[in-house]
Symmetry: C2
Subunit: 107 residues, 2 copies
């Protein structure tokens, strides 16, 4: 009922986790200390650094916040840089997307 996670997705999350670990060590913060500052438990910090797929997004965001890097999350899919999507101008962006026939959408 929940398809397997695509490999690229798995890899990206794992890398994010180890980058968090890296950023933490660079700042001389222990896992326990990071947990405290984030408002999370030690086990959650571990799971996060290990790249656990099911850790809620807000924990990752909290970690970034501790590192003063919360903007990078905000600008993750920054509309300005979203070249592909820019085929359509934002002005006439539909609030709802409707497919012509039975088509369920297009890329």
């Amino acid at each position: 009922m929940e398809p397997p996670v695509p490999l690229p997705v798995e890899q990206a999350i794992r890398k994010l986790g180890s980058d968090i670990s890296l950023a933490r060590r660079r700042r001389h913060i222990s896992q326990a200390s990071l947990a405290e500052r984030m408002g999370a438990s030690l086990s959650t910090v571990r799971r996060m650094e290990k790249g656990d797929l099911r850790v809620p997004i807000h924990f990752f965001a909290r970690a970034l916040h501790v590192f003063g890097e919360i903007q990078s999350l905000e600008n993750l899919l920054d509309t300005a840089k979203d070249d592909i999507g820019l085929t359509l101008m934002d002005e006439n962006l539909p609030k709802r997307v409707r497919s012509k026939a039975g088509t369920s959408g297009a890329l």
Copy 2:
């Protein structure tokens, strides 16, 4: 037992959610279709676009993957751009961080 989410964190996640919604509409994909392509349920897509704090990270990653933007997640905390942390060279980065006295770490 779980401190409230800092406002900046909440805002960042909300913005990410609406950016996903924007990217989706730009590509003329319905929520249902995105859900299918992501391998998630419709309700999850909705929660995600609304900025639900507790949606697991992998769902966000899956969405980015559908949009062909998975790299942006990988490079989220890219070590190269992590200026603050660069005070310490990576070569002699400790695997474990140890505080001098009872200090629980430093920023």
